[in-house]
C-alpha cells in the first residue's frame, strides 16, 4: 500500500525570507562577477564574506542543533541556501563546511561536535572533509590512509585528494583505516606533518587540494572502527547538498540563456522565436524541473528521516548533474561565438556543471548506487 503522506514542497514565509536575504547578500557581496575575480586569486574566496555567511546570515549552521551554535533548522533550509550559492558559483567553503558539519552530526560524538561545531557555525573557522582517494569520495572499502595510536594520541599516514577548499580549511575531517576498521578523525590545519597543495582545477570557482599526512596528529571522532555508517549517511547528504547547489547553478544558466534568446535578433526575428531553439529549451525545462523536484524531495526526505535517502540522493545528484551539463552546453551553443569566449560567463557554468558531475562520483556511479539501494 502506498503511504499517504504529502511532502510539503511549498515554501513557508520564513523560508522565502531566507532565500531573499541570501540572494540579496550574495548579490551585493558575492556576485558571479566576484566569483570570476576571485578564481585567479589566492585563496580563491573572500574570507570576510564567508564569516558573514555564518555570523550575519546564520547559513553555516542552519541544520546544526541550537545547543551547538546552530539554527536548529532542517536540511530543506540548507538546500535553499545552497541553491543560492550555486546561482553565483560561490567559490568559498560553504558546501564543504555543510558537509563537514553533516559528518560531525552523523558521527554522533557530542564532545567533538561541541568542540568543532560552534566555530564552524558562526564562520570563525572553516572545515572540509578529506574522504576521497583514487577510488572516489565517501568510500569506506578502499581507504589507504591509516590511523595508528602513538604516545596516547593518534597519527595519520597517507594522502587524500579532491578536498574542497582543503588548502585553507582550519579543520579537516579525515577517513582513515585503523586496526578496528574505518574510522574518522579531525586534523587541525596547523598540524605537524600536514601538507596541502591547491591544484589547478577545470572549474576555477571551486578550489580542490591534495592533502598529505606524515605522522600527522589527529583526534578520533566517535569510536575507532565505527565510521562506516556515519560516512555513508553523510555521503548521501553530501550528494543531496551538491544536487541542491547544482539546481541553483542550472537555474542561473537557464536564465542567462533565456535572456539572450529574448534579446538577440537574426534574420529579422528574435532567435527565441525559432522552433529549433524553443524545442530544445522545452527539453531543458523538463530536465531542470525534474532535477529540482528530486533535489527538493531529497532534502525533505532527509528531514523526515525517510528510508529512501540513498536512493533519492543518487537520483537527485545524477539528474541535477545531467541537467546542469546539458543546459550549460546549450547556453554556449545558443549564444554562438560570444558563448565560447573567456569574457562570457557561459564557460563558468559549463565548467562548474562538469565538475559537479564528478566531485562526488560519476553519474554512472550514482546510478549504480541507486540500483544497489533498491536491491537490484
Amino acid at each position: 500500500m502506498a503511504e499517504i503522506a504529502a511532502v510539503n514542497f511549498e515554501l513557508a514565509d520564513y523560508q522565502r525570507d531566507l532565500v531573499d536575504a541570501t540572494r540579496q547578500f550574495l548579490g551585493a557581496r558575492a556576485s558571479l562577477g566576484q566569483s570570476r575575480k576571485l578564481m585567479t586569486a589566492e585563496p580563491g574566496f573572500d574570507a570576510a564574506v564567508h564569516r558573514q555567511l555564518g555570523s550575519e546570515l546564520g547559513l553555516l549552521g542552519l541544520h546544526v542543533p541550537e545547543e551547538h551554535g546552530g539554527a536548529g533548522a532542517g536540511f530543506t533550509e540548507v538546500a535553499l541556501a545552497l541553491q543560492e550559492t550555486g546561482r553565483v558559483l560561490y567559490p568559498g567553503p560553504y558546501l564543504p563546511t555543510i558537509i563537514a558539519l553533516e559528518l560531525l552530526l552523523q558521527a554522533g560524538d557530542a564532545a567533538a561536535l561541541a568542540r568543532l561545531g560552534p566555530p564552524l557555525a558562526d564562520g570563525s573557522a572553516t572545515a572540509s572533509v578529506a574522504w576521497a582517494e583514487s577510488a572516489g569520495p565517501g568510500r569506506v572499502d578502499h581507504i589507504t590512509v591509516t590511523g595508528s595510536q602513538a604516545g596516547g594520541g593518534w597519527v595519520l599516514r597517507g594522502s587524500k585528494r579532491f578536498v574542497i577548499n582543503g588548502d585553507t580549511a582550519d579543520v579537516l575531517l579525515v577517513s582513515a583505516l585503523t586496526p578496528e576498521g574505518p574510522s574518522l578523525f579531525s586534523v587541525s590545519g596547523q598540524a605537524s606533518g600536514l601538507t596541502r597543495t591547491r591544484r589547478p582545477t577545470l572549474d576555477q570557482t571551486r578550489s580542490l587540494a591534495d592533502v598529505g599526512f606524515a605522522d600527522t596528529p589527529a583526534e578520533l571522532i566517535g569510536a575507532a572502527g565505527a565510521a562506516a555508517r556515519p560516512i555513508s549517511a553523510a555521503f548521501d547528504r553530501a550528494c543531496a547538498a551538491l544536487a541542491a547547489e547544482t539546481v541553483g547553478v542550472t537555474d542561473a544558466t537557464m536564465e542567462l540563456t533565456l535572456g539572450y534568446l529574448k534579446e538577440r535578433r537574426q534574420f529579422g526575428r528574435l532567435i527565441g522565436s525559432f522552433q529549433a531553439l524553443k524545442h530544445r529549451c522545452a527539453d531543458l525545462v523538463l530536465a531542470i524541473e525534474l532535477a529540482r523536484c528530486a533535489a527538493d524531495y531529497t532534502a525533505r526526505a532527509i528531514d523526515a528521516d525517510n528510508d529512501d535517502i540513498t536512493t533519492a540522493s543518487a537520483i537527485a545528484l545524477s539528474e541535477a548533474a545531467l541537467a546542469a551539463q546539458r543546459v550549460a552546453g546549450e547556453c554556449i551553443q545558443m549564444h554562438g561565438g560570444i558563448g565560447f569566449t573567456w569574457e562570457h560567463d557561459a564557460h563558468l557554468f559549463f565548467k562548474r556543471a562538469r565538475a559537479s558531475a564528478a566531485l562526488l562520483g560519476s553519474v554512472a556511479g550514482h546510478r549504480e548506487r541507486l540500483l544497489q539501494s533498491i536491491g537490484v
Binding site: 500500500m1 502506498a2 499517504i4 503522506a5 504529502a6 511532502v7 510539503n8 514542497f9 511549498e10 532542517g74 530543506t76 533565456l258 534568446l261 529574448k262 526575428r269 528574435l270 527565441g272 522565436s273 525559432f274 522552433q275 531553439l277 524553443k278 524545442h279 529549451c281 522545452a282 527539453d283 525545462v285 523538463l286 524541473e289 525534474l290 523536484c293 528530486a294 527538493d296 524531495y297 532534502a299 525533505r300 528531514d303 523526515a304 525517510n306 536512493t311 533519492a312 537520483i315 545524477s318 539528474e319 554512472a364 546510478r367 549504480e368 541507486l370 540500483l371 533498491i374 537490484v376
Partner: protein
C-alpha cells in the same frame, strides 16, 4: 517537514478505503491490474476484457449508488463537489486496493467540464446525468485527415437548418468509438470568419441512423482501437451547441486545459510494476549483471521515482490551494518520452531478442513488443511532443511565437 495528511483528509482517506473494502465485490481486484496504463495497449486489453465481467458491473452499480461517479463535479449536478485533493485521494485509494476508478472517459473529462464551464443550466441538466449513469458514452471528434496539430483549421462543416445543425465532413483518430453513442465535434459554422472564430462545439448522436459511418483503423500494434468517421448530413439540435455558435474554439480549449490534478499523483503507481517486470525479464535473460543494462535500469527507476516526486509536489500544491506549476506542464512530455525510450530498451531484453511474436491469430505481441510499439502513440495523441514543446517554450518560458503564415 513531512506533512502527514491533516485530520480531515486522513479520515477521508480511511473512510474511502473502508467504503471500497465494504462495497467492492470479492474477486474484482484479481480480475486485472487495474492500474495498467492505457498506453500499453496490448497489456491494457486485459482491462478492457475485465470490464465485461459481471463483477465490474456490480462495482459500477455500487459506485453509482454510492455517488462515486464524477465525484469532482458539483453537488448540484449529482457529483460530490470534491476539490482536486479529495479527488486525488480517491484515485490513490482505488490504486491501493486495486479496483477500477470508474471513469466516464471523454464524457467525464472533456464534455462534462465544457458543459460546466461553458454550458447553460438547461444543457447541464440535459447532458450531465446520462454521462454519469453511463447511458451516454462520448468519443472525440477533433482531428481530421488534414488537420491534426493545427486543430483550429478543421474543415468539417456545420450548417444551421432551422433549429438543427447539419454536419458534413470527416473526423479521424477517434478512440473509444466502438462503445460510443455520442460524439463531440468541432466544426466550422462560419467559413468567412478567421479560423479560430468560425468554429462550434456540438454534441452529436453517434449512430449510423444519424448518417455517420464509422470505419475502424488498424494500428501498428495490430489493434483496431481508433476509427475514422464520415459525417454525411448528420443532425443535432441547435440546443447541443455548447458555448454558443462560433465560440467552439474557446470551448475546446477550456475542455483541453481542464485540470486533472489527480492524475499526476497516481501516475507512477502504474509504471512501477512495469519497472520490476523488466528487472525480472533482465534477470531471466541473464543480463542483470551487464553494466550497460544496469545503467538503463537505473535510469528507468529514476524516472518512475521522478514521477512519484512530481506527484507529491502536485499534491503539496493542491493542499496549499495553489495553481498548477511548471511541473504539470511538462508531465505529459515526460511520461510519453519516458515510455518510448523504455520501449526501445525493453525490447532488447525480450525473449528471442524481440524477433519472435507469440503464436496465434491476428498480431499477438509480448509485453515488451507491445511497449515498443504502443509507446509510439503517447508522443502523438493529446498534443504531440512537438506541440507540448511549443506550449512549454511559449507559455512557461515566454519565448516569442513563430510568425504565422496564415490566419
Amino acid at each position: 517537514m513531512q506533512l502527514q495528511l491533516t485530520g480531515e483528509l486522513r479520515e477521508f482517506h480511511e473512510e474511502i478505503v473502508g467504503w471500497i473494502h465494504d462495497h467492492a465485490p470479492r474477486g474484482l481486484s484479481e480480475l486485472a491490474d487495474w492500474s495498467t496504463p492505457w498506453g500499453n495497449m496490448a497489456q491494457y486489453q486485459q482491462v478492457v476484457r475485465a470490464r465485461q465481467h459481471e463483477l465490474y458491473a456490480d462495482w459500477e452499480k455500487a459506485c453509482v449508488e454510492g455517488q462515486l461517479i464524477c465525484p469532482q463535479w458539483p453537488q448540484a449536478v449529482g457529483g460530490r463537489g470534491w476539490d482536486a485533493i479529495h479527488a486525488a485521494i480517491f484515485d490513490i485509494a482505488c490504486h491501493e486496493v486495486n479496483v477500477p476508478r470508474i471513469s466516464r472517459g471523454f464524457g467525464e473529462w472533456l464534455v462534462g467540464p465544457s458543459l460546466l464551464l461553458q454550458g447553460t443550466l438547461e444543457q447541464q441538466q440535459a447532458f450531465l446525468p446520462p454521462i454519469m449513469s453511463g447511458q451516454d458514452i462520448y468519443c472525440q471528434g477533433f482531428s481530421e485527415p488534414n488537420h491534426g496539430s493545427d486543430l483550429a483549421a478543421v474543415e468539417t462543416k456545420g450548417v444551421v437548418d432551422g433549429d438543427e445543425i447539419v454536419i458534413s465532413g470527416q473526423k479521424v483518430w477517434t478512440s473509444d468509438a466502438t462503445d460510443a453513442n455520442m460524439i463531440f465535434v468541432l466544426c466550422r459554422t462560419d467559413p468567412e470568419a478567421p479560423k479560430h472564430a468560425g468554429l462550434s462545439f456540438v454534441l452529436v448522436p453517434f449512430t449510423p441512423e444519424n448518417n455517420i459511418e464509422v470505419r475502424p483503423i488498424m494500428m501498428i500494434n495490430g489493434i483496431a482501437d481508433f476509427c475514422e468517421d464520415f459525417f454525411d448530413n448528420a443532425r443535432a439540435p441547435l440546443f447541443n451547441v455548447i458555448g454558443g455558435l462560433n465560440n467552439g474554439w474557446r470551448v475546446a480549449m477550456t475542455a483541453l486545459s481542464y485540470e486533472r490534478g489527480a492524475d499526476a499523483t497516481t501516475q507512477h503507481l502504474s509504471y512501477l510494476p512495469e519497472f520490476w517486470a523488466l528487472v525480472e525479464q533482465a534477470s531471466a535473460r541473464g543480463r542483470l549483471t551487464d553494466p550497460p543494462v544496469r545503467q538503463r535500469l537505473a535510469w528507468a527507476y529514476a524516472n518512475v521515482e521522478l514521477m512519484r516526486y512530481a506527484g507529491l509536489r502536485s499534491l503539496s500544491r493542491l493542499l496549499a490551494g495553489g495553481p498548477p506549476g511548471v511541473l504539470e506542464s511538462v508531465s505529459k512530455l515526460h511520461w510519453s518520452e519516458y515510455q518510448r525510450e523504455l520501449g526501445e530498451f525493453a525490447i532488447e531484453l525480450d525473449d528471442d531478442f524481440g524477433l519472435i511474436r507469440p503464436d496465434g491469430p491476428g498480431y499477438p505481441v509480448t509485453r515488451w513488443q507491445d511497449l515498443y510499439l504502443s509507446s509510439r502513440s503517447g508522443t502523438i495523441y493529446s498534443g504531440t511532443s512537438e506541440i507540448q514543446r511549443n506550449i512549454i517554450a511559449e507559455r512557461v518560458l515566454g519565448l516569442p511565437k513563430e510568425p504565422r503564415v496564415n490566419g
